[in-house]
């Protein structure tokens, strides 16, 4: 028995003696093959895992380093090291628009996220816990929206928002974000509300609580874990959104304030700085834009992973 490592202890203690000869013969042959194969595979696979890890870390580390380099250091070689560690580039990036873009993104999300969660949870709750005519229809009506590509509605959406006078306004983008986030929020929270026990709901009804009160004071607190997952999903999705703000948040005239969000602003800055030759600003800008997301991810790592992968459970 050349390779006992592959076999769990308990099984190893109990099995070998009792095995029929035929089975034992076949197995020891299989083991020897499995051993060399296992070792080669192990070195190979571990090497590959490490290689991929390097491929993730290297670009991000290079980006961080770039925010401390000077423009000529960046241009000289990919491997140059910053000679002077200071935060100048971050200050310049902030002044050149990143600060405003950051604020714009925050203003939009401060309204769009609570609104998405509130409206999504309300619709999901009613659809999950109440029977009425058209219940199924409204459920599929919401869920269907998640299957269509954004590009299908983009052109009319632009003219609709234009007609409402909401191009390049916060309220316009907020409403569109909420509408685009509803399908997944409703889908996810619908499933979640279904799993909650009915007994507490009934007890609240007997105590004379109104429907609205039951929702806000009984059901929402119980649904917190679900709300957290879908909330993280929406925060990341809306923070990282690019195509919608790029279409809807363009300055309408020279006097119109630049209300670009962070992603869109960075792309604009990248185009400008390409000519002006201040690359550290781009690198610092990217670092600023990535930092909050990475911090959120690392602190809620489990919820982020489960929230984002839950999006595929269809």
């Amino acid at each position: 028995m050349s390779n006992t490592r592959l076999i769990p202890d308990t099984a190893r203690d109990a099995v070998p003696v009792a095995l029929p000869p035929k089975g034992a013969g076949r197995r020891s042959g299989g083991d020897r093959r499995g051993d060399t194969e296992g070792r080669v595979l192990n070195v190979f696979s571990h090497g590959f895992l490490i290689l991929w890890a390097v491929m993730i870390v290297l670009p991000l580390f290079w980006l961080l380093l770039g925010s401390f380099k000077t423009d000529s250091e960046i241009g000289a070689s990919a491997w140059s090291w910053p000679s002077n560690w200071n935060f100048d580039a971050f200050g310049r990036a902030w002044d050149k628009g990143i600060g405003d873009y950051f604020a714009n993104t925050l203003i939009v999300l401060v309204f769009s996220i609570p609104l998405t969660m509130l409206l999504g949870a309300m619709a999901a709750y009613v659809l999950a816990r109440y029977e009425f005519r058209g219940n199924r229809f409204f459920y599929y009506f919401f869920v269907a929206g998640a299957m269509f590509p954004v590009y299908l509605g983009l052109v009319p959406l632009y003219f609709l928002v234009d007609m409402l006078g909401m191009l390049n306004t916060y309220q316009g983008l907020i409403l569109v974000y909420v509408a685009y986030s509803l399908p997944f929020t409703v889908f996810f929270m619908h499933a979640f509300f279904r799993t909650l026990p009915t007994a507490i709901h009934e007890a609240a009804v007997i105590d004379g609580a109104s429907h609205t009160r039951i929702f806000f004071q009984v059901m929402v607190p119980m649904a917190k874990p679900g709300l957290l997952s879908v909330g993280i999903f929406n925060v990341l999705g809306q923070w990282n959104q690019y195509i919608l703000p790029m279409t809807l948040m363009q300055q309408q005239s020279g006097f119109d304030k630049d209300r670009s969000v962070l992603t869109q602003g960075l792309v604009l800055l990248n185009q400008q700085q390409g000519y002006e030759g201040d690359l550290p600003v781009i690198f610092a800008g990217m670092t600023i834009a990535m930092l909050p997301v990475v911090v959120v991810y690392l602190s809620f790592q489990r919820q982020v992973q489960s929230g984002l992968t839950a999006g595929t459970l269809k």
């Binding site: 009506f141 052109v155 509803l182």
Partner: protein, 310 residues
Amino acid sequence: MQQGKYRFVTGFLIVPVALYAVFMIWPYLQTFGYSFTDWQGQSQEMGFVGFDNYTALFSDSVFLKALWHNILLLIFLPVATILLALFFAYMVNVGGRGGSGGVRGVAGSGFYKILFFVPHVLSIAILAVLWRAIYRGDVAGLINGVFIKLGLSDPAHPIEWLNEPDLVLWCVAFVLLWWGVGFYLVLFSAAMQSIPREIYEAALLDGSSRTQTFFKVTLPLLWDTVQTAWVYLAILAMDCFALISVMTPGNSYGGGPDHNSEVMATYLMRNFLAFGKSGYACAMGVVILGLTLVLSLVTLRISRRERIEY
């Protein structure tokens, strides 16, 4: 309680439904209507042109090129991402040399799972800016830096990745692979962990090698999840707008050099925002939808297997 029920249901549904119908469903429906017109956008004047936009699309060489690129991505992106993610997921969950525990992942699996997922939480638009810098055509680009360090390319003639007609699309595809593998690793990991360990242990006891175990035990039990991943990656391959518009050369919204990285999404946006051909752009939106739907249905049908209960 009953009499207030309908009032309550209506009260809770009316705002979400209205918002969703106005900003999402209505534009979707309008797209179909506009795709049959020669609408230019700014004015409300438009003439009904029947299927003219669609026939024009399929004789538009740039659109056909874009369509072909989407199809290429559609084939290679899901295959590469799923294979790599499955391999990593297997290593991280059952690839380890079983000690006393029997079946477990390689050392440091938790770390790999956290790290590989990082790109997925970052915005594609920002990653596009980053990768544009990484693919820089001179010695200052990170990829060229690595290639020169490894002696794979000549420092005097660094490769201009994003200006090479034959390379540019694959450079973009690689970023999507880099972005997606961690996500599907986590997705497949979750599915693998729900497979009972006894099944693996039984396979090992019967002398199954790890490769055999993977193909005969793990993969069949994961089939549902692989299918879902396929549909998602296909939808992703139909998009690519942010990456291509930011990374590749070209007048408005990239697609260059000489339309060699053009995809339907960039061509749609250019027709809509730069050329003002709104009706034409709507027709493209409908084609994108059609392809996505056909693809999802075909995937689900072809790959349908008997579901294995465990």
